[in-house]
């Protein structure tokens, strides 16, 4: 097993994220997946948008592109079409990927371009100071919804399934082992793969909604975890509220997996060398 720091820009650490923010756990799980798959470090491209989640690209020692707000899937599409041999991974957030960048995300899914999108959902805009996101639950407090959010929120996985993503999964940042496994599956999946990682924002969401610090938010995630696939499902023995229904849309595991033709742009046939 390689030291995971091989894939880290150590000189850039510690990273800018707040104490208790689980985004760093997600980066680590991703690096573990890259290591498990033994991907060539020079052939991995990480493409990010804007926001806390997107800052992760700066710390991963691959070819990294920190683009514009919401547009990462579009940058990644051009990159992948021009260099199909690269493993292109988009790291985005709930605001980045579902609000300003929602259009790019669903079209990348529809095309079935062979990239992996990891959407880190912390239910709020962290980088800009705690404003309501398309994933902020109804009733939750954000700096722009001081009396509680009145808008409905997106179910990212359902949205992406509707858009035709050929691989859709949800994992919890509190479950790094499952997260790594699903990420490895997503990277190797032929076609567009989407992972919603349920993460946390203790600094804003936690503080505004009295949900505790990073540790409390993280462990409380597991009590909402209903695994639908994978060997770990049977192993969960503790449930915070065993008798109540899990919140809707919180099913975890691989929710969609199909193989359909991969989009590679309009190009000539395979080069005929003869």
């Amino acid at each position: 097993m390689t030291d995971i720091k091989t894939y880290l820009r150590e000189w850039a650490m510690p990273h800018v994220l707040c104490p208790g923010c689980a985004h760093g756990i997600v980066l680590r799980s991703f690096l573990e997946a890259v290591d498990q798959l033994q991907l060539e470090q020079d052939k991995v491209a990480m493409v990010a948008g804007i926001g806390c989640s997107s800052r992760l690209a700066g710390y991963a020692d691959f070819c990294t592109l920190h683009g514009t707000h919401g547009r990462a899937p579009a940058f990644a599409t051009g990159l992948k079409l021009a260099r199909p041999e690269l493993d292109v991974v988009v790291v985005t957030g709930d605001g980045d990927g579902l609000a300003i960048g929602g259009n790019h995300l669903i079209h990348a899914a529809r095309r079935n371009i062979d990239i992996t999108v990891m959407l880190l959902n912390n239910s709020i805009y962290g980088m800009t100071g705690g404003q309501a996101a398309p994933t902020t639950p109804q009733g939750a407090v954000a700096s722009t919804t001081p009396s509680g959010n009145t808008e409905a929120s997106f179910d990212a996985c359902a949205l992406l399934q509707g858009a035709g993503a050929s691989f859709v999964a949800r994992v919890l940042a509190a479950n790094p082992i499952e997260m790594t496994k699903v990420m490895a599956d997503a990277i190797t999946h032929p076609g567009f793969s989407f992972i919603e990682v349920v993460s946390d924002c203790p600094e804003y969401f936690g503080r505004y909604n009295k949900a505790g610090g990073g540790a409390e938010m993280l462990v409380s995630l597991t009590s909402r975890d209903v695994a639908v696939a994978g060997p770990l499902a049977a192993k969960r023995f503790v449930n915070h509220v065993p008798s109540s229904e899990p919140p809707p849309g919180m099913d975890t595991g691989v929710l969609q997996r199909e193989v359909r033709p991969i989009f590679s742009g309009i190009r000539g046939g395979d080069t005929d060398e003869s």
């Binding site: 720091k5 208790g20 756990i25 790094p176 990073g214 192993k235 023995f237 503790v238 915070h240």
Partner: protein, 284 residues
């Protein structure tokens, strides 16, 4: 006078001495002049299965079963049992949990290969309910005194702090009920547990540098943001945040190398090195 009736739940797994402990509690209460009723479940639940004992005391007790949200104290000999029974504790009541055996068999796929599932431990459960919580390491304490089987007396020592009867009744009950020849060690264990009950912070002092255990726990303090995730998720309570808010190692001997702290550290600040690496070096 049900208002004055108090309850205690003892919960553990088979083999931990839950039933004996229950008998000691009942005996101590009788010695203190209370009416008591006790019920217990065992049989199918021996050796690894769940065992519990309900005890109620007061001027006049009708039912032996402790209703939900009414117990004065929960004494959990094991973590999962603490969670199973915590609903029975009244608001402001006490929970005494032994840390030594809290990893239930179902939590890990294979520790040796580090494929451990995070079991979903949630200490916030206790904080939410505003419970007086005492997390103790009864087995270690008993071992140090010379017999690990005295662990249940350590637990009773801590429990005693919340039951409101004089320690002399406890000590008399222990003397009369524990196996012949173990009276002294059990009394010492009881007193050790009694001391823990009064302590606020974890008994052991966190070490910022770490120390050698079966697995080497390295903390990179220049990256660590002291967010406390690692110490909350460590199934063996090896890590803790000290009074200055800094992360330290409490007990590296207990580390099983499950790597949850490492994998769940958002800041890449913890690394766990397996004992295998040392063995190879030594042999080489």
């Amino acid at each position: 006078m049900t208002d004055e009736t108090k309850g205690l739940v003892l919960a553990g797994v088979g083999g931990q001495g839950v039933i004996l402990a229950g008998m000691i509690v009942a005996d101590a209460m009788v010695r203190a002049g209370h009416d008591i009723k006790q019920s217990e479940v065992h049989g199918m639940a021996q050796r690894g299965g769940s065992v519990f004992s309900h005890i109620r005391w007061g001027p006049g007790v009708d039912s032996p079963l402790v209703p939900r949200a009414s117990a004065e104290v929960l004494a959990a000999f094991e973590w999962a049992e603490a969670i199973r029974w915590v609903d029975y504790v009244r608001e402001g009541g006490a929970v005494v949990v032994d840390l030594r055996t809290i990893v239930p068999p179902g939590a890990c796929d294979d520790r040796r290969n580090w494929t451990t599932a995070y079991p979903g431990i949630d200490p916030e459960l206790f904080l939410d309910r505003q419970l007086k919580t005492r997390l103790i390491d009864a087995s270690s304490t008993a071992s140090e005194l010379g017999n690990i089987r005295a662990a249940n007396s350590v637990i009773l020592g801590t429990v005693a702090a919340f039951c409101g009867i004089d320690d002399s009744h406890w000590e008399a009950a222990i003397e009369s009920l524990v196996p012949r020849g173990t009276e002294e060690i059990n009394l010492a264990a009881f007193r050790a547990g009694r001391e823990v009950a009064d302590a606020q912070a974890p008994a052991a002092t966190p070490s910022p540098e770490g120390f050698a255990g079966p697995h080497q726990i390295d903390i990179n303090h220049s990256w660590c943001k002291d967010c406390d995730i690692c110490s909350r998720v460590c199934p063996e309570y090896c890590l803790a945040i000290d009074n200055n808010g800094k992360l330290g190692i409490v007990d590296s001997d207990a580390c099983t190398g499950c790597r949850l702290c490492e994998l769940l550290c958002p800041d890449f600040a913890i690394s766990i090195r397996p004992p295998m690496a040392e063995a190879v070096t030594t042999n080489g």
